[in-house]
């Protein structure tokens, strides 16, 4: 209609006092306008092969910390698309030489092969129920975030308690927890549904349930394995072929 609802008018009135509007979410109930653009909900879409590679890597080392990097690009305004995943380590992340070399190579690979960037990291922790990032892992995540375009990055943590369900025949819900780091905060926080959500490619969970065989789990290799035996390829190109069949 011609007249605006009262709540929105109040919201606009309050905003006149601020210098910049940013992009905000108007909540009709309270009439508050959040001008801080960091509170916009971030949507991260994850492709099938990224999800499969990620979970296969964490299944390969069930008793150790597992770490890897997300490759993708920004789409739209602040949303991310994760197209691929590069497994990095299954050993301790507290000694940095392998990490530094891996990050350089992964970044170059992402640019040279598909023209994308490193948009985040993933971790699967040693202990069941541990859904936080360790402080060494958080430091690496900060480095990736600092180098990502628009400083837009996300962290996935694998929730091991959900893996059993996820490997059922029709595929259960996905096993990833998402963490983001707002501009002001110093910690990577678990997101609620308002701050962000993961949009997994349809059929990804079913594909994972089909592909998580002992052979596939043995075949996944990461940068650690590659350093032990240079013949092993951390790009894991065989996953796409196996998925296509």
């Amino acid at each position: 209609g011609k007249t605006r609802p009262r709540s929105r008018r109040r919201a606009y009135a309050r905003c006149e006092r601020t210098q910049s509007w940013g992009r905000g979410v108007v909540t009709e109930l309270t009439g508050r306008l959040e001008t801080d653009s960091n509170h916009v909900s971030m949507k991260v879409s994850v492709t099938e092969r990224a999800y499969v590679k990620l979970v296969l890597h964490s299944l390969k080392h069930p008793t150790r910390d597992v770490f890897g990097v997300l490759v993708g690009r920004t789409v739209g305004d602040g949303d991310l698309e994760v197209t691929d995943v590069l497994p990095m380590l299954h050993s301790t992340i507290s000694v940095t030489p392998s990490v530094e070399i891996a990050l350089e190579q992964f970044g170059l690979h992402a640019e040279l092969s598909v023209g994308q960037h490193l948009v985040g990291v993933y971790a699967a922790n040693e202990r069941l129920g541990d859904l936080q990032l360790g402080h060494n892992q958080a430091k690496v995540a900060d480095v990736v975030k600092g180098n990502a375009p628009g400083k837009n990055a996300v962290v996935f943590v694998v929730d091991s308690e959900k893996i059993n369900q996820a490997l059922e025949l029709n595929g259960g819900p996905h096993v990833l927890q998402m963490l983001i780091k707002d501009g002001e905060s110093t910690k990577w926080d678990l997101v609620g549904s308002q701050s962000g959500h993961i949009a997994l490619a349809g059929g990804a969970t079913a594909t994972l349930a089909k592909m998580a065989t002992d052979d596939a789990i043995k075949k996944v290799t990461d940068f650690d394995d590659h350093l032990d035996d240079p013949g092993l390829d951390w790009r894991n190109g065989w996953v796409e072929d196996a998925m296509g069949k």
Binding site: T63, T92, S94, V95, T96, P97, S98, E100, I101, E104, Q105, L108, H109, L112, R127, D130, G134, N136, D214, H226, L227, D228, D229, P230, G231, L232, D233, R235
Partner: protein, 354 residues
């Protein structure tokens, strides 16, 4: 009752040993020249079992596999559980002898805990508890079952009780450390491991574990002390030198980086130029030192020197190693993984040029 040490030291003398006494068998094992198995043999047996052996129910291969697993102490829960089940289900298993049967049961219990099969593990524990009521091995197994059920404080109480009776039980000490790690209490884990190492200071793997725990907390000086103990115990292994180089490299600062370069060079030398991590490490150290030069920090940059940097000669010792490594790495990739060659070449070009 007098405390009984676990290693058969109170066994009767050689002349009066019975044929199936464990100490006699061990003595004879040590005295004969029968070669022990290699890890390759173990992997081959496992491959055979996975492909054909389990379907056939090949008991002999399963027994051999379990013996090799006990010797190398690898953690392969899937195959071990199946092999142990085959051995125990064999109708002729009375010929095995009690020792091998109970050994298979113990391996099956640990493997099923790893796989998540709590029911089997608990059933085995109950059976063993009946036969060996006061045993430390069974106590350890009971503690593991408690840990599996997330009852860590009860498990710790049980381990403490065992250690009161038999304070020399190394594996129970290690299970205590594992408990603290599982709960996330790294300080307690470090304290317990330090107490253990005060007594059993020859245990190189425990020193390695303590080095890892210190590194997690970023206490690099202590971590390097532990790695030095490991190197003293096993100086011929290149990977220990590489690990200590990595810690020095992580600690940072000109002195530590120069020491890291020395250790990387030693690792490369000992592995006859096959250690890719050492080569990349040399390139990385070179790059970091060049960064320091460019910032014109002549003496150091305030980071404490963790090792004895005084025996590093003035001037650049091994300054060319980074360049040599950067020239050698592409040769490895050309043969091993040509698909990754462009990425590696670009990375090395960036590292050498900055």
């Amino acid at each position: 009752s007098t405390p009984r040490l676990d290693r058969g030291q109170n066994a009767p003398r050689f002349r009066f040993l019975r044929a199936d006494c464990f100490a006699a068998r061990a003595f004879r094992c040590a005295m004969t020249s029968r070669p022990r198995s290699t890890l390759g043999e173990l992997n081959d047996t496992e491959e055979y079992l996975e492909s054909a052996g389990f379907q056939k129910g090949d008991v002999l291969a399963c027994r051999k596999y379990l013996a090799m697993v006990g010797e190398h102490l690898v953690r392969r829960p899937g195959p071990v559980a199946r092999a142990a089940q085959v051995v125990l289900a064999d109708p002729k298993n009375h010929k095995l002898g009690k020792r091998e049967q109970y050994g298979a049961m113990e391996l099956l219990a640990y493997a099923s805990l790893d796989v998540g099969d709590d029911g089997t593990a608990e059933a085995i524990v109950e059976t063993l508890q009946v036969s060996f009521p006061d045993s430390d091995k069974v106590g350890r197994l009971r503690g593991c079952v408690l840990e599996q059920r997330n009852k860590f404080s009860e498990a710790l109480a049980l381990y403490d009780a065992i250690l009161e009776k038999h304070p020399a039980e190394q594996r129970v000490w290690k299970r205590k450390v594992g408990c603290y790690k599982a709960v996330g209490d790294f300080d307690a884990a470090i304290k317990t491991l330090t107490e253990y190492l005060d007594v059993f200071m020859g245990d190189a793997s425990a020193w390695e574990e303590l080095a890892g725990l210190y590194c997690e907390k970023n206490h690099f000086a202590q971590s390097i002390f532990c790695w030095e103990e490991v190197i003293c115990a096993q100086p011929q292994l290149a990977k220990h030198h590489r690990h200590i180089a990595e810690v020095y490299c992580t600690a940072g600062g000109v002195d530590n980086l120069t020491t890291a370069r020395k250790y990387y060079a030693a690792a490369l030398d000992m592995s006859t130029a096959s250690d890719l991590r050492a080569m990349f490490g040399l390139v990385l150290v070179d790059k970091k030192l060049k960064d320091f030069e460019q910032k014109k920090n002549g003496i150091g940059n305030g980071k404490k020197s963790l090792g004895d940097a005084s025996n590093v000669a003035q001037g650049d010792v091994g300054a060319d190693l980074g360049k040599d490594a950067a020239a050698f790495i592409p040769k490895i990739y050309k043969v091993a993984c040509p698909g990754l060659l462009p990425v590696v070449q670009k990375q090395l070009a960036m590292a050498v040029s900055t």
